[in-house]
Assembly symmetry: C2
Homo-oligomer: 415 residues x 2
């Protein structure tokens, strides 16, 4: 067993017990103190970040990735502001979700309680440290974070300030922990830390998610992969459909709720595709189409089987002509990742059919898939987007970082 | 990969898509038809059960276990009656759990949908086949069952009748499957059938649960182990306390919600323990106590460290004198399995403290832990009792066999 993890796990378990009954105002004040502490410690954070930046440059990390790693005065202020927003959200813990009176007089209720100890494994962006820790603590959980080696100096500095300011303001010792050892085996050991970790949430690319699913023996909430489709049904308002696919593909192609494939019914393909695809091409999108698409709009590359299954996370879009709604739903069922799927239609029955038959975390009628997001859904925060069916599905806010317990009031009932 | 599992997995996935939108009345009629079919096929079931019974005898299976394996006319009728009760329950699928209107006009709602394909690994009692399959199908899920080799002929016969009658009444092919291969490796392969199984629920002893937690790569709902405590706080009504501990220990010692340890405050130990323990002894309970208990009631064996951590599932009770509520909660935190815990008290503050600080699926004031059960909680059915915190906690009914999806109505919104 890994000594660092056992030690941090023991402390986190103890902290979780104290956090579970900590008053909201104490948690909130601690989060405000942490936010102020990060801003006050900006110089210290930037110095440590510079070590990571220098190492990244020496290792030849690409520009775009180095930008994700970089901390600036503005980014530290944003990080603090994010924590203040979490502090301002309502506390989900302690809510009683109804009680029922049984025939024998027992009063049985459900109350919302923290999960306990949450493990977070994440990649590159150091602001995840602050963000994830704040959400976990607000929902009454202790957190053990494990970031990548490329950001270790930044992450350690952030975690140190958060821990110090948090404990000064009343958080129990061990509520926020960061794993210092960045060896791969330590990440695997964290995935197998049964008895200490109640739930593990990986935040990162497909490689990380797969490694967690394969290796973890603790309960996991899978997040991330989104191979999302926009389906333009033949009754669609075609101007609306064009707006939606351009938005879903180009407003932020790197995120999981961006569209990867456009499906268009044969009946409107000749009217819809030329205008929509040429606008997409003008916006810098590379197009890969089926044979029918190519016949209508020759400036597309031929799509392969692999294209239908790929989350590009880039300015690339697969395009397929479909033979009506059943064909479109069959394609989504075969290639989708159950993240976000949208139909554009003016047909009442088709909208109902799509909502009922498509199996995904979020199913849209006449809107962009880009709305699958905790803030856009009105949760005020987001720890990730679950693509599994157990426990949480879709954007996860504070509520999804809690569980329930049954509380039962009796007067001597026996069975 | 295992061919039988892949084939059954493919069929189950297909069936799950059809089941997800199957009308409640079709599902209910299929369940009634299955119940009638089992009763009509009683002779066939008993013949196959006799093969298992004969094998069990030849292998020297203990009497008590053979009784669990035995099917009789009455037990088949009970099995059918259980299925009819499930058919009569309200269908959880399709319920819309509120919708919110966002500032941009999007209407975002949550609707209850089936989990998809549920795997159930269970031991010995063949009625689990009928019971679990009925619950899964009612909640719109396909199910792949894997029972033990000792009951394989009984299980195959039950599954065959259920499948035949179910399909005749409109269930999709593959909705109910039983794994025929009883090799251990096949069970492990089922635990790793990612892409086919959405949730795996083990039903059985600690050995099975541990094997599943260690080996599974599909999402698991842990069930079962219950090291439950009755804590008699010093202000307790001692007659009530005696009733509760006798009920919690002796009404059915083999089940997971039975009490395993009695904690009694020092202030009432001399008044409470002699009467309670002598009644427990008269009821056939072997007592294992701490030194203080032995000083008060000499007819106890000395409890070891192991006793505090053991789920006896038998007429054995550990007894410990505690130094007030903090000591009792610390003991429960250290040795409990987060299943069911009870305090007997007349003190308002102590009751609130116990409910808040004890981390378990069900926390009781002045009632027996034996009520932790889907039927007693008013769910009308139970697939098991979850002892994990993710997805479901405590007794799991039909609702816990579902998940949600977000449905979003727009009129062209982009982000």
């Amino acid at each position: 067993m890994n000594n660092e993890l056992i030690l941090k796990g023991e402390r986190a378990k103890k902290a979780a017990r104290a956090l579970a009954t900590l008053r909201s105002d104490v948690k909130n004040n601690a989060l405000f103190a942490i936010a102020d502490g990060l801003v006050a410690g900006t110089d210290y954070l930037l110095q440590n970040n510079q070590i990571d930046m220098k190492n990244a440059e020496e290792k030849g990390m690409p520009e775009a990735m180095r930008d994700r790693l970089l901390l600036t005065e503005k980014r530290v202020e944003d990080m603090a502001e994010g924590i203040r927003q979490v502090a301002a959200l309502p506390d989900p813990v302690g809510e009683v979700l109804g009680m029922t009176k049984r025939p024998n007089g027992l009063l049985i209720g459900k109350t919302r309680v923290p999960l306990g100890v949450i493990g977070i494994i994440f990649e590159s962006r150091p602001n995840v440290t602050a963000d994830a820790a704040a959400l976990c603590v607000k929902a009454g959980n202790a957190v053990i974070l494990r970031g990548g080696s490329e950001a270790i100096h930044s992450n350690l500095a952030i975690a140190e300030l958060m821990r110090r300011e948090g404990e000064k303001a009343g958080l129990p010792e061990g509520a926020i922990a960061l794993v210092e050892d960045t060896a791969r085996e330590t990440a695997v050991a964290l995935m197998r830390l049964n008895g200490y970790i109640d739930v593990l949430i990986p935040r990162g690319g497909a490689g990380l998610i797969n490694a967690v699913v394969k290796n973890a023996t603790v309960p996991v909430i899978e997040t991330g992969t989104g191979n999302c489709h926009i389906y333009v049904e033949q009754s669609a308002d075609l101007a609306m459909a064009k707006n939606i696919i351009i938005n879903a593909k180009t407003s932020r192609p790197s995120v999981c709720n961006a569209a990867e494939t456009l499906l268009a019914d044969r009946a409107i393909a000749e009217r819809f595709l030329p205008g929509a695809l040429s606008d997409l091409a003008k916006a810098g999108v590379e197009l890969r189409g089926c044979a029918e698409t190519a016949a209508i709009f020759p400036a597309v590359k031929a799509a392969t089987e692999e294209d239908w299954a790929t989350e590009y996370s880039d300015y690339i879009l697969a395009v397929k002509v479909t033979d009506g709604i059943d064909d479109a739903i069959a394609h989504i069922t075969q290639y989708g990742t159950k993240h976000s799927e949208a139909i554009v239609t003016t047909d009442y029955n088709k909208s109902r059919k799509f909502l009922a038959e498509v199996d995904a975390a979020a199913v849209y009628v006449n809107a962009s898939t880009r709305f699958t997001d905790g803030y856009e859904f009105g949760f005020g925060a987001e720890i990730g987007i679950s693509t599994q069916k157990m426990h949480a599905r879709g954007p996860m806010g504070l509520t999804e970082l809690t569980t329930i317990k049954y509380i039962i009031y009796g007067d001597g009932q026996i069975r």
